[in-house]
Assembly symmetry: C2
Homo-oligomer: 439 residues x 2
């Protein structure tokens, strides 16, 4: 068993980086026993070298390029965040034969191909368990445990910020803006929350999950995306009336069309989820991923999807595995993209809609509304109409709620567009997809 | 990339074996792409060669020894069941340099050391994901994803038969015997259910989980074990009154005593679990494992814990990984037992008891009962006393239910023994531990 220390460079000293540094130092004995050689921290790349970072200042450097190129650095842990300069640093490390562990979802959802190729050429590992769902093992179960099975679908709550906001709206009746403000105050939302609330973060994770689950390449741009900014307290009221809650879901599916041509769909949107569905009770900053595979059936993975220590746990698992490979010889699984599945546009996806609209209160309205669904062969599962009164107690219209059976997203969205154009429809209050409801 | 086929022998053609054979044949194209070489089925070891087994009869052989020794067999999948002849066949395969995948929990909980050593000497893989919790990835997350973290506790529902029986008793009010009969009729319980209902199966899994979670060696004999045969409908009534249900739990813990000497505890028993605990809603034949680690926090893994196809999914994952290692070079994680933790006897374990007893209905009884708890420094969290009447409507005694705070199991069981000896105590109706309740 080799006793030669393995030199590690950590890039980034934020929440996750400082936890990784702490664990490497405090668990040194255990890590050495598990790896077969000690891990030694050679340097920490930061934007600005300062004495107050809680680590020996001589470890700090703002010269990332030099750090990853040092001869005594064998492995690089990238926790800097944005796509650049992370991409450049990782490429440089891989090209110099250093295994890399990263938590960078945006990068892995964009540049997997380039990075995987560099890792392949240099015969080193590129691990990214921490890029999806924090501490929850999902990459390794999908690439290894399910390597002999056939994954049909992955659906998950993979963004803690939006899940916190939606849980808050559900439990307190708060509107989106005040739930977002609360999330910010508690440190669950960033100053610019766009990446989270518009679904970009979840879309990057969906791209990664779809790629590994279906052995194909899916990038963030391939993912259909809607955020949560338009979800209202009224939507939650309607959800409750239907025995549902609302969750921002990342959904990856393998679809077989009539011509037996398999396609892959990856999409992110807020959806109605029945209260008895396992994802409905995943609240606050927690994450969960449900995987359905041909032989395994339905599996669920649940835990903390963000935060310094949980994410560091996933990083450290990757680091120990990459280090073991260095000591023992051998490598982890490479990128598997042989299936080369085309991406299915959102319009082709079979789904169910919930539509809530205000209409004029006169005879024939329901019939006009129903006709628009029928024209596009969308079958209605449930419809409710109730009268509305204004502040003076006068009848002022009616509210119609329609829940459809499954139809293509194109037929459903065309129906909604047509409804909006009807004279008798005053406003479309909300349109939400429904997931996890067996018909 | 090597194109030379990898020869596979499957030992056993029961529920799991026939699913593994089916997947190897039906998914040949995908498996080849994922491995980098085709898998070829060289033979299937069975007790009795017959033409009606649904596979080409020329693949069948009852000469296991010869099959695993064939030059064209590179890897062996053992799905025969009992410890022998599985142990002998696996040892022979490993010694001849063949990687082995097994689902044999009893064997892995007894002979890990011997088998791991043989795998080590021959530089091959020995994988056993399917031995614990069927399709649910738990071995790989514990050995790899959490390789850089420090696991504190693993608690799970890992036996589908007993979980089915307990779920049935809870939802229908059935007694143990009739719930067992139902489980048998549905194929969830074997003709001789001892291994399941007495907790031997769960104890084997607890031993495996404790070994890998804590990097130490725990065998089935080290696991404290109580079965579910004495659980009554009255226990479920009491559980409900306390906001709990009853589950057979496998619990593995790392304990730190006063002298800072770490110990490991592995135990299996039916316990009260609060209804809002994630394990409480795991019903029927499903399994779930909750892992608590220092950095990751609490993780939960859920899915089908038994059955041909789900177990075959786990076997196939192992088979693909072992085959990839053969093609790429390299090996998966070896046995990690460096921590060498002593086993903690059950008496040292801090836990909480629920005690339900019939007592004489006269002054001073509660005081005598409470005194026995106090003598052993067991603090009472909750006590309820109610009068009982006989069929003629006459007062005939009282029932006392005591829920304790945490104390050592030794203090608690001594208290119960002393209570049974009190003149005023007529019968001890039930004693159950409580888990998952934060104080």
């Amino acid at each position: 068993m080799s006793e030669k220390p393995i030199g590690v460079a950590v890039l980034g000293l934020g929440n996750v980086g400082s936890q990784v540094v702490r664990i490497i130092e405090q668990s040194a004995g255990d890590l050495t026993a598990r790896i077969g050689a000690p891990l030694e921290l050679r340097g920490i790349g930061v934007r600005r070298v300062a004495a107050d970072r809680g680590v020996p200042v001589e470890l700090l450097t703002d010269n990332i390029e030099e750090l990853v190129s040092r001869d005594d650095v064998d492995m690089v842990v990238e926790l800097m965040g944005p796509v650049e300069p992370a991409r450049k640093a990782i490429l440089a490390a891989l090209e110099q034969g250093k295994s890399v562990v990263t938590a960078n979802k945006a990068l892995m959802a964009q540049s997997t191909g380039e990075l995987a190729q560099a890792a392949e050429a240099a015969h080193v590992d590129l691990y990214f368990e921490a890029a999806v769902a924090g501490a929850i093992p999902v990459i390794r179960p999908l690439t290894q445990s399910l390597a002999g099975d056939s994954v049909l679908r992955v659906a998950g709550i993979v963004n803690g910020t939006t899940n916190y906001i939606l849980s808050e709206m559900d439990s307190t009746g708060a509107d989106y803006a005040s739930a977002l403000a609360d999330a910010g105050a508690l440190g669950y939302a960033e100053a610019d929350p766009t990446a989270d609330v518009e679904g970009f973060d979840a879309a990057a994770k969906a791209a990664i999950l779809a790629s590994i689950a279906f052995h194909t390449r899916v990038t963030a741009d391939d993912v259909y995306r809607e955020g949560i900014t338009k979800v209202t307290p009224a939507d939650f009221e309607s959800a409750r009336a239907l025995g549902c809650t609302i969750k921002l879901l990342a959904i990856c599916e393998r679809l077989t069309s009539d011509e037996e041509q398999q396609r892959v769909s990856a999409r992110v949107y807020p959806a109605l989820v029945p209260l008895d569905h396992p994802l409905a009770s995943v609240n606050g900053a927690f994450n969960a991923v449900v995987v359905e595979a041909e032989a395994a059936g339905r599996l669920m993975f649940y835990g903390q999807g963000a935060g310094g220590a949980p994410t560091a746990s996933a990083v450290m698992g990757d680091l120990v595995m990459a280090a073991r490979n260095r000591v023992q010889g051998g490598r982890g699984p490479r990128e598997s993209k042989y299936a080369k599945l085309p991406i299915s546009p959102i319009g082709f996806i079979p789904t169910r809609y919930y539509v809530n609209m205000n209409v004029a209160d006169r005879p024939g309205v329901l019939s006009s509304v129903a006709a628009e669904f029928a024209k596009r062969e969308v079958s209605i599962a449930e419809v409710r109409q109730e009268g509305m009164v204004d502040q003076g107690g006068q009848r002022c219209g009616a509210r119609i709620v329609v829940v459809t059976h499954e139809a293509t997203d194109a037929a459903l969205s065309e129906t909604v567009a047509a409804l909006a154009d009807l004279d008798v429809v005053q406003t479309i209050n909300s349109v939400l997809r429904m997931e996890g409801i067996s018909e």
